[in-house]
Structures are given as structure tokens and as C-alpha cells.
Amino acid sequence: MTIFKKIICLAFLFSHCVLIIIANLSEIKGLGQDEETIQQFSLVGQKMIINTKGYLPNNPKALMTKIYTHFAGINTGYCFFSPNVPTPSKVVFELSDSYNNTLTQAPILHTKAGRLRFTVNTSLFKSLKEIRELLAFSWAIRMLEYNPDYNQISVVVGANTLPAIAKYDRAVPLPFTETERYEFELNRE
């Protein structure tokens, strides 16, 4: 390998790693901007985040960098389950027909992998403020396609709250807390 090729390789490695580091720092910065998440930090962690927030970088805005990071799969950080394992949101659909027959269903997905991906989708729901209703509408249409006899649907978004270790009681099922509800009606004519 020539020296020139070696320099190119090292430059590539360096810039690739820098982009990964930026994506991660930017994600940590994002964690520090959410009030709910910051409560889960330790006192030292909170101080650290507050003091360094101003110095942490944002994800690059240049188009070429954005394209590269997307193509290389490094456009997101690796703060999986940080600072805590999040409570995944849950969606339930309440369908009813013109005779007031009702049916409660979870999203119809045929595979375990599909259901897991829908959970990711539901968890993202919280962060997509502007299009939440549209997304709920989109889910509702799919569910009405699966259930053609029904024309009204409520999309109920919530979460099963898991108590802390010390407060956990096997006999008590996990409570479901509803956070949002969207109602749609379909005129099949």
C-alpha cells in the first residue's frame, strides 16, 4: 500500500469516527434538553449536562455530511436505553359500528419483529408533536381497512407503568395510563 493510500485511509477513519462522536454527543445533548429525562440523571450527571450543554455539538447540517451519515448508518447516536430504559407507549384501537357494537384491538401485525417495530413507532409518537394526529389517523385507516364492518375508531395512546423494584407487587397487574385519545369516523359512502 502506498503512503498516499495510507493517508487517505487514515483521513477516512478519522472523519468517520468524528462523525460518530458528533452524533453521540448531539444525542446526549438532546437527552439534556428534555425535562422529563433530566430528572433521571444523577445529581452529578445533571450538573455535568447543564455545564457542558453549550459546548456539545449538534448533528451536522451540511447536506453532504447528512447524506454520508445516513448512508453509513451513523446518523444517530448509540445512547440505547439511556439514561434509563424508557416506558414504551402502547396503542389500543376501540372500534365501533353503526349498531354500537364495539371491538378493542391492538395494532394488527403478524410478526413479533413487526410488533417490536410498531412499539418503536409508538415511542417516537411522543416526540413528533406536529404530526401526532396525522400519524394516529394513518394508524386508524389501516385498522379500519382490516375491520371493514366498523366505521368509528378511537386511537388510545398510553403506557403500562412498571413500579420500581421496591414497590413491585406480583399480584397487581401493571396499570395502563391513557395519555392521548383521537377519534375518527369513516363515511363509507
Binding site: M1, K6, C9, L10, L13, H16, C17, I20, I21, N24, E27, I28, Q40, F41, S42, V44, G45, M48, K66, H70, F71, A72, G73, I74, T76, G77, Y78, C79, F81, S82, P83, N84, V85, T87, P88, P107, I108, T111, K112, A113, G114, L116, R117, F118, V120, N121, L128, I131, L134, L135, S138, W139, N160, L162, A164, I165, A166, Y168, R170, L174
Partner: protein, 318 residues
């Protein structure tokens, strides 16, 4: 600093990044990633339209709002094919079978570079269309396919090699691709661990508790662990130690095996107890490729000796 010490450092650096190696492990990487991707997309087959179709759970109109213009998606293809009478549903399923075929060819190492590029692009088409459903495993898979495209993954155990009259010179391979993977993994674990460390829940055991008990991850009844909070706490500390310590201890020969098998063990745990088996598998593949090459070489020597012994005995018997 004298000239000789500078030269010494440059030689060390040169050896660290460009030492000639056989890179047989990259063949394992290619085959494992291809098989993993077949398994990954295959596991979604009944839900292809629900996740990636225009009429799926996330309608095209919404997806268009979420995606940036440069992000590849199936609609690019289906919009063209619909002009010649091929429906969007046919395009999705056609692409599924094309992806399986391309991955199969990549696994056997036929026109490896070409099919690695195609596999990466089809992966981007699928997971761009289902962007909102993507999670950690998909991002890591994108990186792995990206590396397959750039690295000399077809130099060993490939049809390309078999078809060539002259075998590729092993000295042409350097350790650089492996170093790239190693650095990537170190960053993954370092940031994964550090961001957990600034919270309280991975210190007091709640993180492990939630990972095993939240309904979406729940696989086995582990509620009995509530009686042993100390066990959960120690498990949480172990995760932090292995993740944050990864970049430091994995490069040190004496602790490498402990860290490698510890991290693989952690991923097996994630697969078993959280049901995130796809994420676990792709991370194990990356770890074995990046730091398991010495063990891989030993085993491959062992198996080749075994097969040559077998061949020799057969010859003698004849």
C-alpha cells in the same frame, strides 16, 4: 524528538493500522451479515405491506414529511414501475425477493463488491420507507452493509476467488478494515455506557429491572428478582463496566478474551431476556469480526488440519 524516535513511532503507527494480515475473518463478516439480513427481512415478510407499503400503518404522505429528499425509499422505484403497469404491492414483494437473491449471491461471494453495493442500497430502500419503524439493529445493519461495500470481504471463501485462476495475494490485505470496525465498536460501547452512567437507574438496578420486566420486552417471568435487588444492582454495574471499559480493555491482550466474551454474553442476555434477538445477533457478528480474528484463525487452522488429517488417512487406507 530525534529522527530515529520519530521513525519508530511512525513504524508503530504503520504496523497498528496497516499490518499485513490474512483477513479471513472478513469472509465470516460477509457471510454472517448476508445471512443475518436474509433472516431480518424474512422475519418481516407477513408485515411487509404494513411496514413498508404506501397503504401501511404509516401512509406515504406522512412518510414524505418525515423523510429528507436524499433518503432512498421504495416509492422512488414504485413510481417508475407503476408507469409500466407494475403495482406498488408487486414492487414491494419483488424487491423483497431481489434482496434475498442479492444477499444470497453476496454470501457465496459472487461478484462480491457489486452485490454488496446492491444489498446496501436495497436495505436503504426498505428501511428508508419504514424509517419510522427503524431501531438500533437497523442502523447497525446499515453500517455493516456499508462496510461490506468498502472492505475486501470477497477475498476469502468466495466464488470470486474460486473462479479466479490466481489466488489473491494475502499480503495485499491489511488490518485497516478490522481497525475501522474496532474503532466503531469502541465508540458504540463507550457512548452507550457513558450515557447510562450519568443516570441513576443503571447504578441502582432499575435499568436491568425495567429491561426485563417492561411488557414490550418481557420474555420470561423474572419478577422473583424483585426479592434480590442486589443482584440487579450488580448486573447494572457489570453492564456499565463492560460498556465503558470496552475501548480500554479490549485492546489489551490479557483482558481481551474476558471483555469479548463478556460483551457477547451481554448481547445473548439482551436477545434472550428482552427479545431483541436481531440487535443481539448483529452486535455479536460485529464483535467477533472486530476482535475475534485470532480465535477464528485458530479454529480455521484446527479445522483445516482436521480435514487434511482425514484426507491423509483416507489416502493411506486406499
Amino acid at each position: 524528538m530525534t529522527n530515529s524516535s520519530l521513525t519508530k513511532y511512525f513504524t508503530l503507527l504503520d504496523n497498528f493500522f496497516f499490518m499485513p494480515v490474512s483477513n479471513k475473518i472478513l469472509a465470516f463478516f460477509r457471510i454472517a451479515v448476508a445471512i443475518f439480513c436474509i433472516f431480518q427481512i424474512g422475519s418481516l415478510y407477513p408485515d411487509l405491506l404494513n411496514l413498508f407499503g404506501e397503504q401501511g400503518f404509516v401512509r406515504r404522505e406522512i412518510l414524505e414529511v418525515l423523510l429528507e429528499d436524499y433518503m432512498p425509499r421504495i416509492h422512488w422505484l414504485s413510481d417508475q414501475l407503476i408507469l409500466i403497469g407494475i403495482s406498488e404491492v408487486t414492487t414491494v414483494f419483488g424487491l423483497f425477493y431481489a434482496y434475498i437473491l442479492v444477499l444470497g449471491l453476496m454470501a457465496i461471494g459472487f461478484k462480491t463488491r457489486c452485490f454488496s453495493i446492491l444489498a446496501w442500497f436495497i436495505h436503504l430502500l426498505f428501511f428508508g420507507s419504514g424509517d419510522i419503524f427503524m431501531y438500533g439493529a437497523d442502523y447497525v445493519t446499515t453500517s455493516c452493509l456499508f462496510y461490506c461495500m468498502l472492505m475486501p470481504v470477497g477475498n476469502h471463501f468466495s466464488l470470486d476467488n474460486l473462479l479466479k485462476k490466481k489466488q489473491l495475494n494475502a499480503k495485499l490485505n491489511t488490518i485497516f478494515p478490522i481497525r475501522l470496525l474496532q474503532f466503531h465498536l469502541c465508540l458504540i460501547y463507550f457512548f452507550g455506557g457513558t450515557s447510562k452512567m450519568i443516570g441513576v437507574h443503571w447504578w441502582n438496578g432499575e435499568g436491568i429491572w425495567r429491561a426485563m420486566m417492561l411488557p414490550d420486552f418481557y420474555q420470561f417471568d423474572m419478577s422473583w428478582l424483585a426479592n434480590y435487588p442486589m443482584v440487579l444492582m450488580v448486573m447494572g454495574w457489570t453492564v456499565l463496566l463492560f460498556e465503558v471499559g470496552y475501548p480500554f480493555f479490549i485492546f489489551y491482550r490479557k483482558t481481551r478474551a474476558i471483555w469479548l466474551f463478556g460483551i457477547i454474553g451481554m448481547h445473548i442476555g439482551i436477545g434472550l431476556f428482552m427479545g431483541l434477538y436481531q440487535f443481539a445477533t448483529i452486535m455479536i457478528i460485529m464483535n467477533i469480526t472486530a476482535f475475534g480474528s485470532e480465535y477464528f484463525e485458530k479454529w480455521s487452522c484446527f479445522f483445516s488440519e482436521l480435514s487434511s488429517n482425514f484426507y491423509y488417512k483416507k489416502q493411506m487406507a486406499a
